[in-house]
Symmetry: D4
Subunit: 255 residues, 8 copies
């Protein structure tokens, strides 16, 4: 509730068209609106075309379905991440618009079509084994309405493969760079573009990769400008962050 609507409410109380009890009720029953947090609740799906997201890991299939049912009533698009095929099968029973992106482990319930952005997110990954995390980022961004391009297997040990893609790299508005093992790809990539690079370490590797710790530290210590980092294997988080940046970029293009 902004100052203006507060003013209106108080005027209504003053002139008697709203009782004191009604006014208290309004102020108490809609606390988020009063506080301006309602936006937090609604911008994702209703205003922005952003989907509601269910993080499935650690939840039972029943819990995921229960949450999905509730969200369907809000007429939102829905995305269930870290979802295995059981989740997919269960969600198919409550909606007709269910798709499964197996590599990304994401189930999508697409109820309202989304027009993709003109500007582009580039999702790159260093090795074949990083693909699941890269796909989680790419599908997340696509479901959120972004145009996404993918670039696979461009590790720094064969730098020429990466360099041969520099036009692709430079054509993106924001980049998601996924790498396990030594995690060096974001550093090199960020040197080839002046756009934001979101680095995603993966748990791919063995021995002293310590479940992705090595790649995480590498990325945090990147000497290249414009690199920020998300949690190990957090493709969703990278896809989301890239989406809200690309949305801004798209606005300047579409204007």
């Amino acid at each position: 509730m902004n100052k203006k609507s507060l003013h209106q409410l108080l005027e209504q109380v003053k002139i008697g068209s709203m009782s004191v009890e009604q006014a208290i009720g309004t102020l108490t029953d809609l606390p988020y609106a009063d506080l301006g947090y309602a936006m937090v609740d609604h911008h994702r799906s209703l205003r922005s075309g952003y989907p509601e997201t269910i993080f499935s890991q650690g939840k039972t299939v029943e819990q995921v379905v229960g949450i999905a049912r509730r969200l369907i009533k809000k007429d939102a698009n829905i995305m269930a991440t870290r979802a295995d095929r059981n989740v997919y099968d269960a969600l198919k029973t409550i909606s007709d618009h269910v798709e499964y992106h197996a590599a990304a482990r994401i189930v999508v319930i697409n109820r309202r079509p989304v027009t993709p952005t003109r500007t582009k997110i580039l999702v790159m990954c260093a090795g074949t084994a990083d693909i699941p995390v890269a796909e989680e980022a790419a599908v997340t961004a696509e479901v959120m309405g972004n145009r996404v391009e993918r670039l696979v297997d461009v590790g720094v040990a064969g730098i020429h493969r990466l360099l041969s893609k520099r036009e692709t790299i430079q054509s993106a508005s924001v980049l998601v760079v996924v790498a396990g093992m030594d995690g060096a790809l974001p550093s090199v990539t960020a040197g080839l573009t002046d756009k934001p690079v979101i680095a995603v370490p993966t748990s791919v590797g063995y021995g002293a990769s310590f479940g992705g710790l090595a790649a995480l530290l590498t990325m945090l210590n990147s000497c290249a400008n414009g690199v920020t980092v998300v949690n190990i294997d957090n493709g969703y988080g990278a896809g989301y962050a890239a989406s809200i940046i690309n949305r801004i970029a798209n606005q300047s293009v579409e204007k």
Copy 2:
């Protein structure tokens, strides 16, 4: 050197207005241009108004001054980070445009004026002791041509102080959120905005903060959408990443 200028060069060779030797010289003397990397070299200062940056830590004052001398010839604005007063005193001897931002530990050599963006970066920090890192981010962003607003001492243990600033928070195009100790501020802040949040853990704390590790892990594990993380105490990196995002936002506004 893009295809167009390569075409021109070859045409000149063809018609004889440029000798083969001259052509080789051009292609060899500007190897990065040949490779299309020159952009990397020049966008920062010449095209973008971005300053050249010297990371002073681990360098001698002589080394910093030496690098600065070389950059001054390129007519760029210069920023020396992690610089103590000795660096400031030494740089004053080679330029008249030297300023020292003591809290941020940044020396700036401003040779060409920069018009600030209309859109805004908000730099927040949880506690008084986080100010140096927050200032490094804020000054970096300002030197890179951004309008910056600051918000200090809004830790989550007194959530009302943070909430009372929600309009400030929601008015920014991108946020840099700095916190040591428990590092919980970015999670809460990101729930109050739909803009990108760049989280900066600081080494502020003691005991099980382990030099900022606790805050770093908290931020990487944030449940809030849109949060990405930089290295512990890396105010510069956060300021830089925020700048390239805010530049995009400013373009859509200024268009």
Copy 3:
């Protein structure tokens, strides 16, 4: 054996109604009572209505049953934590009062009814996946005779949900706050109450959560007053500690 009963014993020796050998036997057979430690043994079940607890993890079903048999003879209420359904099935064969709290993984053998406290413990958790640990805390507290209220899915990334529950928060005598991932909930909660907050990190999460380490460090580094921490996933320990605090609070109310 307190001073009074020691006095009685010595008087009996003095007047000859107890032989020296009998006295030695009594003092030797109850050595802990001699040392004043008997309280440790008895306050839990007999005096306090506190149950005897068996930590089942790492024990065979046979061992758990064996211990339970021994405790049943002491007429105590019994609680087996970290117990799977096999333990439940086995314990049902030795008692008629066996209940299984599946979410909490606790089997209870309730032989004597317990009157709940008037004051209240609030058990909160940040996400759905934290429920098992929260339930372990809640059921432990209930079995120990406390009134318990639960609050689920109030993570700090949606701060308004948490704030809308502030009356519930402020009505509790002691709070158990359970969170995985970034573990930020206790910091924010403790800022909304002046009562003790017992924080329980969970192993919920992935990547840089490192099995709950991230949440643990966050909680230990909390800037909020009144927060203390227990081991990762230690719902039982939190429930127990909350119980002995709430018992004190209840005494002041019931007086």
Copy 4:
């Protein structure tokens, strides 16, 4: 602002004794009261007799003095923790009621006398080198109005010294147990009482104590019931948590 005062305000608007603008001003100027958070601000010093606390570490002397000046206007008692003698000397220039507890590194500005509780907090420490942290806890509790008893040098390697104090241990309402090195004291102590034990690991030690990590882990893994833990060297946090528990205990006694 509770419902009652909100009702009064709206009534005043209704009957015209308060203008709409005045009402908006009241609601906007006191945002915390609107939200019900004001209690958070005031309970510490005004209602509870709790002091306002300044954590001095990482702050300049000027910053500490500046905050203290502001708090003095609120007529609160003030406590500056992690304060060296320079802070003490500086604070003496702005108040006449300044005391320095050197071992605890705490400066106190006592402006209003506090009546100590009848119930007691026991602060124990394992070794001589743990005394500074123990004193931080003890002085914090005393400034917050608690009766405090101290027990020094009762490490578990000489268990008889600890056992000879069991009556002292059992007479306390809540215990703060401070230990570095192996950190085993809280486990043993908690077995001797049925009251809450707040364990404080210290950075005392060398080698594989890893700055207090060993003691911290020991305490988190305690098999004894009723133990909760605070950050390494966090005497203040333990003293604070003990105070709010002891306050409850005192209420039941004083009633």
Copy 5:
């Protein structure tokens, strides 16, 4: 080969009863004897009655059997540690003297009887779940010819149980103290005896026990005198070290 036998060999060469080639053969074929290391090979089983040990973990059943076959030819007693029932079944096919200590996960091939020492090793453990490691230590010591006494479930949280066993504790020549979780038992035990205490951390626990790291650090940081530590879960190593100390003690008694 000691100096004396070298002297004999050279004398034989000198008087012609051994050819130079034979002498070279002897010196080359028995290189360890030359170096005096043969003792290393033989003292274990032949001279000391110590068994040959096979660490089964990480070896195939075939490899264990192969090694056992070779050792049987040397007429030694054999002990296979970390052995499951498959190893037991396989070894039964190559010898008639095979026994399986299931709790200790040790298979023993006892071919020559061993007279136990008069002095005693005490193997203690803190909890029921520590028994497998304690048994590995106890059985190792028994197979190596020691008298062993066991003490189970004497954790420090119930200090009276431990204290009631102080005569048992003080009657041992050397103690093996096994504990997981907080690992505090060795510190307290070592304060009750003046004999060597070998501490064995176990991986028993959860959360911040980090696979036994907590207990390991506790033990390394023990303030009690006379405590040394072996690897996590290394019951065998503790049993072996205790045996060579107890052997010395037994010599002084038997003399």
Copy 6:
């Protein structure tokens, strides 16, 4: 493309025997050749007789087969590491030259015979359980055309066994030394030779070996000269590095 060929190209443009478009095409279509990186692509298999390698871990069998199909067209020898029997079975369906080295977990497709070097790589390991990693190194080196000798079970606790092999040790051009647990073997070995020692920590061990971390740190801290280290369990990397050193040694011998 070196200066000479660039000169030729430009001359052709100048005299009209190559159009400007053709020239641009040449410069753009062959970027690697221009940059001299083609060598990176070809030296492994075509020029050096080195095989192409597929790291199978984290790839599906289908992905491994797909990559192998592509490489077969290049007529290279192929080596699939970390390959289980499923990979072997699948690769047999696309080639007749498939062999499986089970202990090494390596599948080899040998299409062109390789003459082994005269100089020798020695692959040593400390214990039986280290054999898989040692075999990965040995087979890698053999497939790359090296003569390899193996030395098993020469741990430092029985130093005489190691010393008795000193002639073998000193006859190698480069050594791969594999060890888990305490990882001490490379230090001792490097003191017995003046040739390069490549140390490979393994994850063999338990407890405080922390998955090979202990052995890794030991090797990195080796006081012996000439020791370098690869990742935990990285037999392939060690075998590869040894191969390129041994190739140099072989050149000096064969010349």
Copy 7:
């Protein structure tokens, strides 16, 4: 108080020569004697000739002197470890028998002469920089009445130096082996003797030695039999543990 004296006391109560109140007083006033712990207090100095020890680190000079004054009254020999020259100077003012072992950082107050054992402790160290820790062990053992031999700079990278000392090694009853960096010396040494080896990791090193962690892990993972470990840099603890073992060995010799 053993059964016999308890019997006497009860008899006295029975016959009236002791009042009930006196009996209660006796049982309550002498808890240590009752518990038999007094031995713990006295065996060190009075019965065993062992010195009382003050760990000076973390204590002020005043505190060390205060403790020393108290111990002098008990007529014990005193040893202050981790003591710098200031402690030495201060202790000289309260006793005439003060000596300073600078390399070991130990001040000794020798008031009663000690006859050294016939059996021998060997203190070895790998490098020159490990000498302070080795000396702490050696001086501790000497002050406790042991014959001590020292062996310096016998690191495993030059194994022949170590092997040339094998007679010295085999002549000791117990060995203290001190090493930083890779910490491999105890493993090799333990293979050359059948006596107990107490390993002491030191913080000597740099980089991935992580303050002694590398050496500590190496030693805990030693494959050699008979090795136990103490804390990093804990020369005192190793010297103490060696002393109580050597005392046993000496008894069998002197008998």
Copy 8:
């Protein structure tokens, strides 16, 4: 002592030209020669022209000088690493051939001239702050008789600078690649050459570089072939390992 000289000795005993006592003396007095280890002692300086090295860190100036005096008598070249100017000043007093390489912190006593190899070691570093470690490697290699080329400030974030040096990179026989922060340089470099790459992590960095741990892990996890790693900041070790490889390469060239 090889078989041949052993044969001669035994023949002399046989024919009486050497007494048994003399023979024993020879075999005992020259144990290293007997064992063939003498080579270890001598190859460094006498045969190879390799210098004797003193690691100065952790040693007093007196200890360094003492060791140097002893080595001077052996007529060897000497190198003192980790040496500050005090060491330099002290060594100047005992020799006329002392030079100080300040950046490398190495003092050299060059008594016999060394002819450099024709083949080349390339020492590269990522940033200015890595120069001290790179210089330690370069000077070590030079003192050991190698031709060394240096390449400074070629971090991967500006990949074109690195690529422009690819001819230099490909002309080296072995490469030492030094990097702190993200440690990504060795991965990229190894992709540009088929020669051995020795990676040296440095402690350069801050925050999550954790004293070089980040760079170390990156390098251990490198996906590029031919990379091996030494300890953090271990320029000496890398220079040494490179030298023994380059020596082999030089042999094949000089032959």
